[in-house]
């Protein structure tokens, strides 16, 4: 278990190699390739439509809310995968542990559902009020 700082040397070597490769390629392409600057070429390319105004326009907060709620519930549901895998194992070996695990998952689900109820009651999922 005792690592010396020198044991990390391979990591540093790899890091240097990775960064070095990128930097080297960029420099190489930049200096090797021919350059012809015209006004048209320097313009921002945007799918053929002419670029108008600022790219940073305000977006409705609903997008973020829904996105965050999605991430939240998504991540919490992911927790059930490792749980399920372990659950099978314990169901086969010890009923007592499996029972406790099941109860704990019920609590977890209850909390999740409470959150869901709160979200709905708060009206966050209504797109238009």
């Amino acid at each position: 278990m005792q690592y010396q700082p020198s044991d990390y040397l391979p990591i540093i070597v790899q890091l240097i190699a990775a960064i070095g490769f990128i930097v080297a390629t960029m420099i190489a392409t930049h200096s090797l390739g021919p350059k012809r600057n015209t006004k048209l070429k320097n313009e921002v390319f945007e799918c053929g439509i002419e670029s108008v105004g600022d790219a940073r326009t305000p977006i409705s907060v609903k997008y973020f809310l829904v996105a965050i709620l999605f991430v939240l519930f998504d991540v919490e549901v992911i927790f059930m995968y490792p749980w399920a895998v372990n659950f099978i194992h314990w169901v086969n070996t010890s009923a007592a542990v499996a029972k406790e695990m099941f109860l704990e998952m019920l609590v977890f689900m209850a909390l999740l559902l409470t959150g869901f109820v709160y979200v709905i009651k708060k009206g966050i999922l209504h797109w238009e009020k």
């Binding site: 278990m1 005792q2 690592y3 700082p5 909390l111 409470t114 709160y118």
Partner: protein, 466 residues
């Protein structure tokens, strides 16, 4: 430990109470919740338990710290007045719920036995604080403060987490008692460098939370931007929890490599004291002054947190209590005065001069302000004096002379800016109309003031318990 579970459930309950369309019941309900939590917390007195597979540990020390936190929370909730009547822009149910959740985090920081729990507690507390800082949505400063706090807090959390990872790498354990043993053996021989880096990084992460220099930069901006009530909450609860965690690590897990961090802490203590006190002198804004004052109080507390001696824990606790009570009453006075001025369509800035002439029509408020300022300045017959006294005498007994001298000099500087508020209230010309106080508000103010005075006369009432 049931207090954590209870508080979590109470927080959820609060969220749903918000649907009742009756804002009036939230305040008493939350007060009751906090009281119940306090009762559950006290039920752990004189019992040493490990909880949740050695994740948390309760003992008298943790009960004491948690009690101070809960008392501070209770007082803050009591002076919150239900967050006004603005139906559309305030969400009291959520505020109270988040406050309760953050207290869960704070108690976890007090009781952690496992560094992961320290991290989780710290995050619960911090994220709640980021939200509460930005609750004044229409105020640009509040938004700015929340974002700043979040950015810098995330940075500090990263440092802390990195430190925990390095410690795990060096010792193979998250359990602080396991770490303590390994650190002790490591200290004798050749410990790997990452252990030291890890320890220093964890300490830095916590120092950020208690706003010690040079990690204090967020404090003035955030304190000023956040609504006063949450600033009060932040400067009391967060600080107490942070110091509890710091104290448990320094006094326990990290004692073995004392030599690594003690000089850093001495130096940072002095730096914190000097920056906090000196910068406070120039401030025009009362709230910003309190922010710097909170930095300087962090300095005084660090003076004790560097101790290896067990009995200093009572000094830290006493100081935290004295400081919390005084700070809450100062913020409470600031809030009502600023609000009254605002409702009179005056320009409010939360500067010292809003207290001008306060004593004329509001003798009670002026007195409360005076007592809290005296206590913060450490004038005898207030709790703050004894807090400082205990801390200084502890430091003296351990022979920490240079930081002690700096601390004493800086507490003299402190008198200058604390007295500015008193001078404004009593000697400056100005007009503050008589303010009608709600009974609960008045009672809370009287209680905090009396507590400050009673502890100033008989500090042993509480000190002997700690």
């Amino acid at each position: 430990m049931n207090s954590i579970i209870a508080l979590s459930l109470f927080g959820i309950a609060n969220l749903f109470l918000g649907f009742l369309n009756n804002r009036k019941i939230l305040l008493p309900a939350t007060l009751a919740f906090v009281l119940v939590a306090l009762g559950l917390n006290l039920a752990d007195w004189n019992q040493e338990y490990l909880w949740f597979n050695n994740m948390l540990r309760t003992n008298n020390l943790s009960v004491n710290f948690a009690s101070v936190i809960l008392v501070a929370t209770f007082l803050v909730v009591a002076v919150s007045r239900g967050f006004g009547d603005d139906e559309e822009h305030t969400h009291p149910a959520e505020y109270y719920a988040i406050m309760l959740f953050s207290v869960v985090g704070a108690i976890m920081m007090v009781t952690f036995e496992n560094l992961i729990m320290l991290f989780v507690g710290l995050e619960i507390l911090s994220v709640s604080m980021y939200i509460l800082t930005g609750t004044d949505k229409r105020n640009l400063r509040s938004n700015e403060a929340a974002l700043k706090y979040f950015l810098m807090g995330a940075f500090a959390t990263g440092i802390l987490l990195f430190g925990i990872a390095l410690i795990y790498g060096a010792t193979g354990s998250f359990n602080i008692h396991g770490i303590e043993a390994l650190v002790l053996t490591a200290a004798g021989g050749s410990a790997p460098a990452l252990l030291y880096i890890g320890i220093v990084m964890v300490i830095i992460g916590l120092l950020f939370k208690v706003s010690a220099a040079p990690f204090h930069f967020w404090t003035p901006d955030v304190y000023e931007g956040a609504p006063a009530i949450f600033t009060a909450f932040m400067s009391t609860v967060v600080k107490t929890a942070g110091f509890a965690a710091l104290f448990r690590l320094l006094g326990g897990a990290f004692t073995g490599v004392y030599g690594t961090w003690i000089y850093i802490l001495y130096f940072l203590t002095m730096l914190t004291l000097i920056i906090g006190n000196i910068t406070a002198v120039y401030q025009q804004s009362f709230k910003r002054m309190l922010a710097y004052s909170s930095i300087s109080h962090a300095g005084y507390l660090m003076l004790t947190a560097t101790a290896k001696v067990a009995h200093t824990q009572s000094s830290i606790l006493f100081y935290s209590l004295a400081y919390s009570v005084a700070t809450i009453s100062a913020f409470a006075v600031l809030m009502v005065v600023a609000e009254t001025k605002e409702s009179n369509a005056e320009k409010t800035n939360e500067n010292f001069d809003i207290f001008n002439g306060l004593a004329k029509n509001n003798p009670l408020l002026a007195f409360v302000l005076t007592v809290s300022m005296l206590s913060l300045a450490g004038i005898p017959l207030t709790a703050g004096f004894w807090g400082k006294f205990f801390i200084f005498s502890d430091a003296f007994q351990r022979g920490i002379v240079v930081p002690l001298v700096v601390a004493v000099l800086m507490s003299a500087v402190g008198i200058y800016y604390y007295f500015k508020a008193i001078i404004s209230a009593y000697f400056k010309e100005g007009d503050v109309p008589a303010i009608e106080l709600k009974p609960i508000y008045k009672i809370t103010l009287i209680v905090t003031t009396l507590l400050t005075i009673v502890l100033g006369i008989a500090p042993d009432l509480v000190k002997s318990i700690f």
